[in-house]
Amino acid sequence: MNDVPASKMSFTPGVLIRYSPLLILALAWETASRLHLVSSLALPPLTDVAQAWIELIQSGELVSNGLSSLYRAGAGLALAIIAGGALGIFMAVSRPVNTALGPLVELFYPMPKSALIPVTVLWLGFGDGSKILLIFLGCMLPVTIGAYNGARGSDQHLIWSARSMGADRLRMIFDVVVPSALPELLNGIRTALALSFILLVSSELIVARQGFGYLIGYLGANGSYEAMFAVVLTVAFIGFLADRIYQTIVERALRWRT
């Protein structure tokens, strides 16, 4: 019971202890590199990486590329949540929709979405559009499946109760089916959130003129390994932060369960 919930975290000794392995890892990294236990090309010292990070911030490169990436991930994810959530709910409440689209979802779900990178580029070119479409396509189905499974678990008696209290079918879907689907829907969105970062960076690595992935690839190709590591760590940290923020939102939204 002494576990600190994610949302209540602040800079207390507990947090320090919790993340101390990270600190140890950072020290090990620095030491290994400084003592030339590993090649400083393969693993530049962390302090040099930090120096490169500051330079990247000062030049504005990290911010402009980062904003571009966040816009792509945010837009793709938002579209995926809206379309995927709606699709899952509709499939759960309508047998015809389920019959028509169920097999498509099953077929498309296990497909590795990174295979679509060249396809979306072919359709929408090198800019934001192709990345947004890729993230949208890749992130939609986990949301759909979460929404569908959650909605299918709606309590029949609660549906009937709402109907008998004067809710029409549409009202009932919003008041009973959607909230019933929420816990699993939110789980699906968490999966989608992680997927969106993967798809974002891999598509930008392959074909892009801006973004985190582009920057990583560009710096790596030019031998600026300190800066490359700085961007990689930035992406990792943003991913971690996004997940943490998301978990806090979920905890709030599902407060009624405790």
Partner: protein, 264 residues
């Protein structure tokens, strides 16, 4: 006895259609009249279709053959004239007690103040004052069922359909809730159809007990159970014991049959 019937069930048959296996005849030629302001218990062994009959009256299941009239009109779906209370409470788990009770009222064209006053009155009526902002998960079974009853009473249905509402409660809570329900019914005088498999509960609560047969469910007979039920000693009175005996004898054969028909 001269009151006109408010609910008329006429020659209704119903089949269960399980996802796998063949269909089963659940109700066979059921006919039943329920008078306005009457408290009627539907009593029968488990699996006899008594809940199915209640759901048909509620408009939750489609009527296959026969007719069900409520206030002279054929049932064509659920409506706020018939409030329902389920054994599993069926509360909105994401809504507080207050929001649960307000739900039916929000579907009506009432001013906000009026809705809130009414919701509070019914929360008070079932003894949940002080728990308005609790979520269902924070309440005991008995309290949850009180919320469900308050929620159903609040939008003032003319009929109450109760599907083994106290079946999930422990014996003491059940007994308390029976007393409270009777008090509420005497105050509000709604038509009540109360599904149960508990003979004592049926005899204690209802004015008439409709005994159903084992599957396929039919109405075997309807027993008049009106007598003086006031006072704490009613469960030991001769009248009560005799009525329970009479009804139990009618149900026993069906319960045995139901047991024999249970799939292994």
């Amino acid at each position: 006895m001269s009151d006109p019937a408010q609910i008329i069930v006429n020659d209704v048959c119903h089949h269960y259609r399980p996802a796998v296996g063949r269909e089963v005849l659940a109700l066979e030629n059921v006919s039943l009249n329920v008078r306005e302001r009457e408290f009627l218990a539907l009593l029968g062994p488990s699996g006899c279709g008594k809940s199915t009959l209640l759901y048909l009256i509620g408009g939750f299941l489609p009527i296959e053959t026969g007719r069900i009239l409520v206030d002279g009109k054929p049932v064509a779906g659920p409506g706020p004239d018939r409030g329902i209370v389920f054994q599993n409470f069926a509360l909105f788990p994401w809504k507080t007690v207050r929001r649960n009770v307000l739900y039916g009222l929000e579907r009506q064209a009432l001013p906000r103040r009026e809705r809130e006053t009414r919701a509070q009155a019914f929360i008070d009526l079932v003894g949940l004052t002080g728990f308005e902002d609790s979520y269902p998960s924070q309440l005991s079974g008995g309290m949850k069922q009180r919320v469900a009853i308050a929620r159903t009473l609040a939008f003032e249905p003319r009929m109450l359909l109760m599907d083994e509402p106290f079946g999930a409660l422990d014996a003491q809570t059940r007994s308390l809730m029976q007393g409270e329900l009777l008090a509420i019914w005497e105050k509000t005088r709604k038509t009540v159809i109360f599904v149960t498999h508990d003979v004592h509960e049926a005899v204690y609560l209802a004015e008439r007990v409709a005994v159903m047969t084992a599957r396929p469910g039919r109405i075997k007979t309807v027993v008049d159970t009106r007598f003086d039920k006031a006072g704490p000693e009613v469960h030991r009175s001769k009248m009560f014991v005799d009525k329970v005996e009479e009804v139990w004898n009618l149900v026993r054969d069906e319960a045995v049959k139901a047991l024999e028909k249970k799939p292994p």
